[in-house]
Symmetry: C2
């Protein structure tokens, strides 16, 4: 039997624009979002950001607590993905525009 | 003769996404951006935000230094506007998506 735990995250209806803006106000967090947009989901340790594990964890936590990402724990792995559906439902078109902007 | 001074702002080519996200990570600054989008430009004292003059000045400075707004000084008035053209040129579609999101 496999136990999968989903880490705390805000409900879809509670996504807040100012909080999301704050979560994206950092080049490393923008890089994480871009990588997730390309790859669908990533195991936590596979981001190539050139930062320490503690700093990466800090950035991932901010993204998750803002509702940008979803993290599930599967054994020793943390698997991170974008909350595309929830973001699109709450703020249609925003994630796409942000990803386009981040690619420039 | 009228002397108009434009307050310091980043060049259009230097607009930075993470910095802009940080400027928008606040409900009052989002409210300022929405008001400017509706009205084109505003005299500094006419925003109805329910905050002190000093706090309003702080928020306006952050928006200007991030490149979101343009401020010109005309006598005793400060006149603020969105840098729509510069933002659209640098990050096409972003401002519109943000305004849509802020209206929800």
């Amino acid at each position: 039997m496999t136990a999968t735990t989903v880490l705390d995250q805000p409900a879809a209806a509670e996504l807040d624009l100012a909080t999301i803006m704050g979560a994206l106000a950092d080049v490393h967090r923008l890089a994480i979002v871009r990588a997730l947009a390309e790859d669908g989901e990533r195991v936590c340790g596979t981001f190539e950001l050139g930062i320490s594990k503690a700093t990466r964890s800090h950035h991932l936590r901010i993204l998750r607590e803002a509702g940008v990402t979803h993290t599930r724990v599967d054994g020793t792995r943390r698997i991170v993905s974008l909350r595309r559906g929830d973001l699109e439902a709450r703020f249609p078109g925003l994630l796409g525009a942000l990803l386009d902007a981040a690619a420039r």
